[in-house]
């Protein structure tokens, strides 16, 4: 079982990363992936000019590694990939790529879903968008907390 967890300061090619990950796990019957990208609009006529993700060095990467370890304990996986950007990005840029490889698809789906809910709702990142020349911090939504709560009783 291989775990790749990276915090990246520069842009990455999600297609190439996923191809590499899939090729590294030939015994897995299924690979489930999620790609988060910078959206082009924050609503009608409100184009997003840029998105910035800040992190806190002493906490962010160690927290991502703990998250990967707990996904690995919960499901039977062949591999887990977790890439997350920091810094300033433009619309269309990849923000996060999570992929889980497993013998059976249910484990892969669940592990990727679990990892994304925790990256969004519990990992040490702060996101802001620039719209109309103004930076605006993005606050967590109530859905994010509900998404996280789903995993507590399982």
């Amino acid at each position: 079982m291989r775990v790749d967890v990276c915090l990246l300061a520069a842009s990455f090619d999600p297609g190439a990363e996923l191809a590499r990950f899939t090729a590294a796990h030939p015994r897995a019957g299924g690979v489930v992936s999620f790609l988060g990208q910078v959206r082009e609009s924050a609503g009608e006529d409100r184009p997003v000019e840029a998105l910035e993700l800040k992190h806190y060095e002493p906490l962010t990467l160690p927290g991502m590694r703990r998250l990967a370890a707990s996904a690995r304990e919960r499901w039977t996986l062949d591999g887990l990939l977790m890439l997350h950007r920091s810094g300033v990005m433009l619309p269309g840029d990849a923000i996060v790529l999570v992929a889980a490889a497993a013998r059976h698809r249910r484990d892969a789906f669940a592990a990727a879903d679990f990892a994304m809910d925790h990256l969004k709702g519990e990992s040490w990142f702060w996101k802001r968008e620039r719209v109309g020349g103004q930076w605006r911090w993005i606050e967590p939504r109530t859905e994010d907390f509900a998404d996280l709560a789903r995993w507590r009783w399982r």
Partner: protein, 79 residues
């Protein structure tokens, strides 16, 4: 002879910068010396704090020593 304060997320705007130096001592004294609006933002319900990279569960009797890094962490929004 000081403590380094780190403001994450929207707290950076409230503080007017990502970091600041402050005198060592109790957290209560440190907060009392800040602008009242900033102190309020830092003590809001969902703001967590970490000292030297470790989350602090009980901040009531917290005392900062020279060279400590104190981070204020508002609700996260990753992904």
């Amino acid at each position: 002879m000081s403590v380094r304060l780190v403001f994450l997320g929207r707290l950076e705007d409230a503080a007017g910068g990502a970091t600041r130096e402050a005198a060592a001592g109790s957290l209560a004294t440190l907060l009392a010396r800040l602008e009242p609006d900033l102190a309020r933002a830092l003590t809001a319900d969902r703001v967590r704090i970490a000292i030297n990279g470790t989350l602090v569960a009980d901040r009531t009797a917290l005392v900062l020593a020279d060279g400590d890094e104190l981070a204020f962490l508002p609700p996260v929004s990753g992904g």
